[in-house]
């Protein structure tokens, strides 16, 4: 037994002490070497096609699994198609309401140009986290056009705060936002971890059901990020604020107001156009008219539209408010706000036509400059 008096500050290094510390150091170094060896072996294995086939699901372990899913699908889409022209961002209304193929097809029919469009709608997000998504997407993929599909709740100060906090505090998301952290870095760079993370909660008793719902979303989402909704709104199911006990859409205790900090986030999205070749279009989602009754009536909605139009205009973007031009039948809606598999193509065709209009009338092109040499 060798005595190491670590409190000894007489400056004399005994050989026994040196030997003992060296012994501990060697064990530590060997441990690090074994750790690196295991990590490298696993990383090598994870990059083989065998593992890719056995474990097809990959995530970044973020709190919102739809973010993982959309990010990986987009990465895959860009790898397969050589780039990206149009990205549509927003919340679940975008996820289930925008069919990228329909936008591309309509645009192609009217202009003869084939666009590469991706739906990056993520459930539960307001304009605030969406602005972070938009920044990431523009910085990473430099699309020619970013479409932000919005609605009144995006600017309601009380809406989506918990989701926003959890969404943005995630290690990988923070790393993507430029805030370096070891966990975020590791997840971003390790394929082993990306293969493991879908199963990271394997020890939780609710894992089978949560994993099943993750798989359900995975399989229901197309390669362009669209997730069809099969639910259908019928006349007898339309909620009415005069007969409803509570307001499921807005904080009923106060009249609807646009939160100024949320408007700043809209400004952040619009500012993305200033940095380069990305054009920004803000589109209002054609929700059911009854929805506005929950917000306080048509006048409140008109005031909202005016404020958004003014902000978008001053930010150099284009605002397309919801008009009667987009005639969504009742059976094209899943509820007052979401479109279903029948309504989404109608809205998407409208979007495609409006883009084509902007190209033919104003000469706006929506092909990413970086990708012009691509497969067209």
């Amino acid at each position: 037994m060798t005595d190491i008096n670590l409190g000894n500050r007489d400056g004399i290094e005994s050989p026994a002490r040196k030997h003992a510390i060296r012994g501990l150091g060697v064990t530590l170094l060997q441990t690090v070497a074994f750790f690196l060896l295991f990590a490298v072996l696993l990383e090598g294995l994870a990059r083989t096609s065998l593992v890719r086939e056995l474990l097809p699901y990959m995530t970044f372990g973020s709190w919102h699994y739809q973010l993982d899913l959309k990010w990986l699908l987009l990465k895959q889409y860009v790898a397969e198609n050589g780039g990206m022209d149009v990205i549509v961002v927003g919340n679940s209304l975008v996820d289930t309401g925008v069919v990228p193929e329909v936008i591309a097809q309509t645009y192609f029919e009217k202009t003869g140009v084939k666009l590469r469009v991706f739906n990056f709608g993520i459930g539960g997000l307001t304009v605030s986290p969406t602005s972070e998504n938009a920044k990431l997407l523009v910085d990473t993929y430099h699309p020619a056009l970013l479409i932000f599909v919005t609605e009144m709740r995006d600017y309601d100060a009380t809406n989506g705060i918990r989701t926003e906090t959890k969404y943005l505090s995630d290690s990988w998301m923070q790393y993507q936002m430029g805030n370096f952290n070891p966990k975020g870095w590791l997840v971003d760079h390790s394929v082993t971890l990306q293969h493991y993370l879908p199963y990271r909660n394997w020890m939780r008793n609710d894992f089978p059901s949560t994993f099943a719902s993750y798989l359900g979303t995975y399989h229901a989402t197309s390669a362009t990020g669209y997730e069809g909704d099969l639910a259908e709104l019928t006349a007898d199911k339309i909620p009415n604020p005069s007969t409803s006990d509570s307001n499921p859409y807005f904080s009923s205790s106060q009249p609807y107001q646009i939160d100024p900090t949320r408007l700043v986030c809209l400004g952040t999205i619009l500012d993305l156009a200033r940095n380069g070749g990305t054009r920004i279009i803000v589109v209002e989602m054609p929700v059911h008219p009854m929805f506005f009754e929950f917000a306080g009536g048509k006048a409140i909605h008109e005031a909202f539209k005016e404020k958004i139009a003014e902000t978008v205009r001053s930010g150099g973007g284009i605002f397309l408010p919801a008009t009667e031009e987009v005639a969504i039948p009742l059976d094209g809606r899943a509820n007052l706000t979401h479109l279903n598999w029948k309504g989404a193509p109608i809205f998407s065709a409208y979007l495609g036509a409006r883009l084509a209009g902007l190209t033919s009338q104003d000469g706006m092109m929506f092909i990413s400059k970086q990708n012009e040499g691509g497969q067209r």
């Binding site: 037994m1 060798t2 005595d3 190491i4 008096n5 670590l6 409190g7 500050r9 003992a20 012994g23 501990l24 060697v26 064990t27 060997q30 441990t31 690090v32 070497a33 074994f34 750790f35 060896l37 295991f38 990590a39 372990g61 709190w63 971890l193 493991y196 993370l197 990271r200 909660n201 394997w202 020890m203 939780r204 008793n205 089978p208 059901s209 994993f211 099943a212 359900g216």
Partner: protein, 497 residues
Amino acid sequence: MNITTLAFAAFMVIVIAGYRLLPSRFRNIWLLAACLGFLLTWAWQFAVFLLIIGTVNYFLGRWLGAAKERRKHILWIGIAFNIFVLLIFKYSDFYIPQFSAVLVRLGIDTSSEGLRLLMPIGLSFTVVQLISYLTDVYKQILQPEKRWLEFNIYVLYFPKLISGPIERARLFIPRLDQPPSLTTDAIGRSFALIVIGLVRKLLFANVLSALLPAAAFTQPLNYSAQMLLLWLLAYAFMIYNDFAGYTSIVRGVSGLLGIELTSNFNTPYFSRSVAEFWERWHISLTNWLRDYIFFPLSRLLRRKFPNPEHIINFVLPPLVTMLVSGMWHGLSVNLLLWGGLHGAYMIIERIPTLWSPKVQMDERPKWQQASARLFTFTLVVAAWLPFRMDFITAKRYFAGIILPSHWLKMDFLWMSEVFKGRLPVGDVYAWNIPDPRVLLVLIPAILLDWVQYRNKDELIFLRWPRWVRAALLAFVTLSLLLVSFADSAAPFVYQGF
């Protein structure tokens, strides 16, 4: 501050550095400051409260040491004070709602939350240590501690504060006076204890805890017998690894300060009798109960009933001791039942010694030892039922396991259809298949204990070749890293006591 966090690791680095670098006259001041700092990360009220409790007991000890007469009265005042404090805080769940209701009726708006928040961490552990201190001073086994600082370090010493081990002042305080030198053996042992503790806590206990569905312990009859049985085993290993893991970590941490803490667990599930189980499970509490409840009670009864085989001498000491153990864990019927069951087991175990001489377990054939091991394990695991749930639910859980009608057919076909994507997952518990993930954790957990038990050395790993140790440590680190990516962590089960 949770002891499995990086924040605690950083805190320890600072504490150890300060403790070792400061001149000796400042070391204990630094240690008490560290104890108070640790408590402040929970709530400042804890620090103030425990300091007051410590100071009161310090003066009680000195009073007891100086007194020439009525010493017994002083001892009982001290014991009553400590038990009163425990009753006030620990069992507040019983009386605070009623107390609040009375206040509300009097028109005083109050919330019981604030009162409950004041329950200091590890109070049960602190109180039994203080009772043992006063008793030892009374018996003149120990001189009353004259130094307020050292005495309060004994009370507040942060590695043992939350969940023990329960240390005796006569052994602990002298360690504070020893120069803090560290041997390479001690460093190696301390790190090994920390690693084993982390494995037990984070890889075994937390994972098993997350795997257990809460509904199984509230509505057990909704599940098949085979699932209930596996979950009960998982619970048994969860609670053991949780507590043993905690103790192992704090022993390692304290070892790095040069202050050795008592070992609290010694592969208890390999015991061949319930009496042996208690020599291996929560050893510091068992020793305390033996010295301050069992022996005094046995001596008292022997004075009244001199025949050692008198039914009173035979039954009362183990039963009362185990009932006190149950009450120490919490004042509830189910915990009393748990203690009572263990007491009853120990009485029944001793019955054969009434007519035949006791044969040492080691001298018995191997098959008898193995059967005894299995039987004891079954009894102990069955007793965890009232420990975990109320009496009625425990009864249902027990019925759920033993009734043949609850051994339901396992639906492997359904499971395979789900895996092929032909059916939605739905309710996986309806498959009646015991969760294989539990086995994934149970097997290595049992293996760890088996290696320690076979070699009669909890740190046998230190005798393995260096490269094997390094490879094992690297594997553990990798596993800990992977498990750390899960979305939540469970608190220590024993933290509430």
